[in-house]
Amino acid sequence: MSVLLSVDTLTRRFGGLVAVSGVTLDLRLGEVHAVIGTNGAGKSTLINMLSGEIEASEGRIALDGQEITKRSQAVRARSGVGRSYQRTTIFPEFTVHENCRLAAQAATQRPWAIWQSSRACSASNAAATEALEAAGLADVAGRIAGTMSHGAKRQLEVAMCLATRPRVLLLDEPLAGMGAEETDRMLTLLEKLKATHAILLVEHDMDAVFRIADRITVMVNGAVIASGDPASIRQNAEVRTAYLGEEGH
C-alpha cells in the first residue's frame, strides 16, 4: 500500500533532553498505525513535529514524497495533514455545524472578500455537512458544541479534521476519557475512515489499539524499541517487559 507520510530519523531535543530520538516510520493509505508507549515516551512530541506545531531538531518528514520538514503548521494542514489533540480542541461557543464550516473554510479562505457572508460559503457548508455525516453528528449539527458530552466533542474534533479533507490523520488519544459505548462508536468511525486515510493513532487503551491497528510502533524514552504488526508486538519480549507488563496480552 502506498506510503503517504514518511518519517525519517526524526529527533527533537529540548535543551539536554532528547524527547524524540531518531524515530523512523511510515503511514500508509488504508492503515491505522498505532504509536504506544508510557507517559513521557515522546508520542505527543512526535505528533507535534509531524503536524508542524514544533520544529524537528533533526531528520525529515515527507508527504507524498515531498519534503515538508520546514513547512509551517498551517501549510501542512492545507496540504492534507489533519490532527486532533489530547485535550479536546474545538470552538465551544459555536454550533457543531459552524465548527466544521470554519474548519472547511481553511480551503477557501478569501479574507479580502468581505462582502461575502461566511454562512453562504457553499463549498465550506458542503464539506461541513459531509464531515458531520461521516462522523455521525448530522443530527446535532445545530447544537452549541460546548454543551455536548465529552465523547461527542471528541467526535466533533475528528469531524473538524475531516472537514478539511485531509489524507493523513494524526490522532492524539482520541479515546481518552470515553465510556465503552463512545469508544466503540469512535473505533467504528476510525475503521470506516482508514480506507481513505493514513491514520496515526496515539492511544493508551490497549484493547482498542489491538482491535484497530494494522501496525504498531512502541516508544520508550523517545526511541522506538519495536515496530511491526500487532501479533509480533504482542509476542515481543522487550515490549512485554518495557511496556505491556507482566499481565501480557
Binding site: A74, A77, Y85, F91, Q109, S117, S118
Partner: protein, 316 residues
C-alpha cells in the same frame, strides 16, 4: 443578529443627519466628539472583541492619525482627499510595525509590548521638535474638499457622521465575512485555527493594521475638529479610556463599542460639570472611577447586557 439590530443604527444615523442643523454649537461639538470616540472605540473592538487581542497602545494610532493630518496640512491647509488617506496610512504603517513585532507575544506580554510601542511614539512627539514638543501644534487651515470646508461646524458634523457610518458598516461586513469568521475562530481557539490550516499570524496582523487605520481615521477627525494636536492624544491613559469604553458598553458587540463611547463621554461630561454635581466636579476622576467600578460590578456584560437583563426574552 436580528432585524432590529440592523434597523436601529441606521435610524439613529438618519436622525442625527436630520437634526444636525438644529443643534446648538455646544451640542453639535459634543455629538461630534462622541462620534469620533465611537470610531476610535469601534476600531479597538475589532481587536479586542472580534479577534481577542487586548491592546493597551491603541491611542498611538489615533494620535499619529491626528499628527499626520496637521503635519501634512502645512501652512496652506490641504484637501480631505489627500489628508485622510495620509492620516490613515501613517497610522496603518505604524500599526504594521508594532503588530509585526508585538503579535509574536500573547496575553499580558502583548498588552505590555503594545503599551511600550505607544509610549515610544508618545515620547517621540513629546520630546522632539517634530510635532512641536509637549505643547503640540496648531492646524492653521482645516481640511477642505471642494465646497466642503471643515471650518464649517455642520460640514465637520457630516464628515464625522459619514466616517462613523462607514466604520460601523465596514465592521458589520467584516463580522459576517469569512475574514470575520476566521478572526472569531482565532479569538475562541487559536491552536485549532492553526491546526486547521489558517495562517493565524497573518490574520491577526491584518486585523491589527486595519484597526490602526480606523483609529487613524478617528485621529484625522479629532485634529480637524479641535484644530490642534498635542502628545496627550497618544498617551497611555487615552489607550486605557478607549478600552474602558468598549468594556463598559459590552465586549463582542459593535453596538457595545458605540454605547460605551456615548456613556463614557456623557459620564465624564456630567461628573465634571459644576452645574450638575456641584463642588464634586473638581474631583471628577474619583467619581468617574467609582461609577465605572459600579458598572463593571453590576453589569459584567456591559451596558448591552442591561437590555437582556430587563427583558429576559429579548436576545442580545
Amino acid at each position: 443578529m436580528n432585524r432590529l439590530s440592523s434597523i436601529v443604527p441606521g435610524a439613529i444615523a438618519l436622525a442625527l443627519a436630520v437634526l444636525a442643523p438644529l443643534l446648538s454649537p455646544y451640542l453639535s461639538d459634543f455629538v461630534v466628539k462622541i462620534m469620533i470616540l465611537s470610531i476610535f472605540a469601534l476600531s479597538l473592538e475589532l481587536l479586542v472583541g472580534m479577534t481577542g487581542l487586548v491592546s493597551l497602545g491603541h491611542a498611538a494610532f489615533y494620535g499619529i492619525g491626528a499628527y499626520a493630518t496637521v503635519l501634512f496640512s502645512g501652512k496652506e491647509g490641504g484637501s480631505i482627499a489627500t489628508l485622510l488617506p495620509l492620516a490613515m496610512g501613517c497610522a496603518a504603517g505604524y500599526a504594521l510595525v508594532v503588530g509585526a513585532l508585538s503579535l509574536r507575544t500573547r496575553g499580558v506580554y502583548f498588552i505590555m509590548v503594545t503599551l511600550a510601542f505607544a509610549q515610544m511614539a508618545y515620547f517621540v512627539f513629546h520630546d522632539t521638535a517634530l510635532g512641536g514638543g509637549s505643547d503640540g501644534i496648531y492646524l492653521y487651515v482645516r481640511p477642505v474638499l471642494g465646497a466642503l470646508d471643515m471650518e464649517n461646524r455642520l460640514v465637520t458634523f457630516y464628515v464625522a457622521l459619514a466616517a462613523l457610518v462607514f466604520t460601523y458598516a465596514l465592521l458589520v461586513l467584516i463580522g459576517r465575512s469569512r475574514f470575520g469568521a476566521a478572526l472569531a475562530g482565532i479569538r475562541v481557539n487559536e491552536q485549532r485555527m492553526r491546526a486547521t490550516g489558517f495562517p493565524v499570524y497573518a490574520y491577526k496582523l491584518a486585523a491589527f493594521v486595519l484597526a490602526g487605520a480606523l483609529a487613524g481615521l478617528a485621529g484625522f477627525l479629532v485634529a480637524a475638529r479641535d484644530g490642534v494636536v498635542n502628545p496627550e492624544l497618544l498617551a497611555w491613559h487615552n489607550s486605557g479610556e478607549v478600552l474602558l469604553m468598549i468594556i463598559l458598553g459590552g465586549l463582542g458587540h459593535l453596538r457595545g463599542a458605540v454605547i460605551g463611547a456615548v456613556a463614557f463621554t456623557l459620564l465624564k461630561e456630567v461628573l465634571g460639570t459644576h452645574a450638575f454635581v456641584g463642588p464634586l466636579a473638581d474631583h471628577w476622576q474619583l467619581t468617574l472611577g467609582l461609577c465605572i467600578i459600579a458598572f463593571v460590578a453590576l453589569l459584567p456584560k456591559g451596558l448591552i447586557g442591561l437590555a437582556s437583563r430587563l427583558s429576559p426574552k429579548a436576545s442580545s
